[in-house]
């Protein structure tokens, strides 16, 4: 499960993956909406990893 946390690094740190104009979404070039899409995707991935772990003792 921890490997999921590497996906945002792979998806975002190599600019040639998303340095395109098309496909345009709501008028936004792919370059912009692709990066913004990683915000909710990363939250989801962190949540999945968090859920898979046993809970810490609170204090």
């Amino acid at each position: 499960m921890w490997m999921l946390l590497l996906l945002p690094f792979i998806g975002l740190l190599w600019v040639p993956f998303y340095n395109f104009l098309d496909p345009v979404l709501f008028g936004f070039p792919f370059f912009y909406w692709y990066q913004l899409a990683w915000v909710p995707i990363s939250s989801l991935l962190i949540w999945l990893v968090y859920r898979s772990r046993p809970h810490d003792e609170a204090r």
């Binding site: 921890w2 946390l5 590497l6 945002p8 690094f9 975002l12 740190l13 370059f31 912009y32 990066q35 913004l36 990683w38 915000v39 990363s42 939250s43 991935l45 962190i46 990893v49 968090y50 810490d56």
Partner: protein, 186 residues
Amino acid sequence: MTDRIEWVALSVFIFFFALVTVMGFFAARWKSGPVSDNLDEWGLGGRQFGTWITWFLVGGDFYTAYTVIAVPALVYAVGAYGFFALPYTIIVYPFVFAVMPLLWKVAHANGHVTAADVVHGTYGSRGLELAVAITGMVATMPYIALQLVGMGAVIKAVGLWGSCRSSRLSSFSRSIPIARACARRR
């Protein structure tokens, strides 16, 4: 950017400034401990911050004058280059999620306050501790400078230039000492 006083913006600015100041004084009484006795009280709020308060603290750390003034200005000026800010903000979260709980456990178990304390406690090296502490301070300097520039931009945006640049001083701004000084000099 205007050189007139923006009343709506200035009122909102003063309202929140006063609100946060008053909240700060109330918060100082809330769950207060012996501040002068140990660094935990001063630096970590007595280790009493739970998830809710920490969430706001992280938000306050992240979304600053840099985020709301400097990055949009950079994107406006140079376009897509300014978008470096978005990927790095996104990848910080999985990194912090993986690393910080480990750091927290060590710090919590041994009563460490700063990152340098953790390094000294774990590796027992004064030199390494010093290197981490100095790196932390030096690395913070440009960021602090950036925040000050950002705050300056915000204050100018509400019409307070703090200099004689304004050529159309209103009757109110002439009543502010610095504006009066400007008017006299002209």
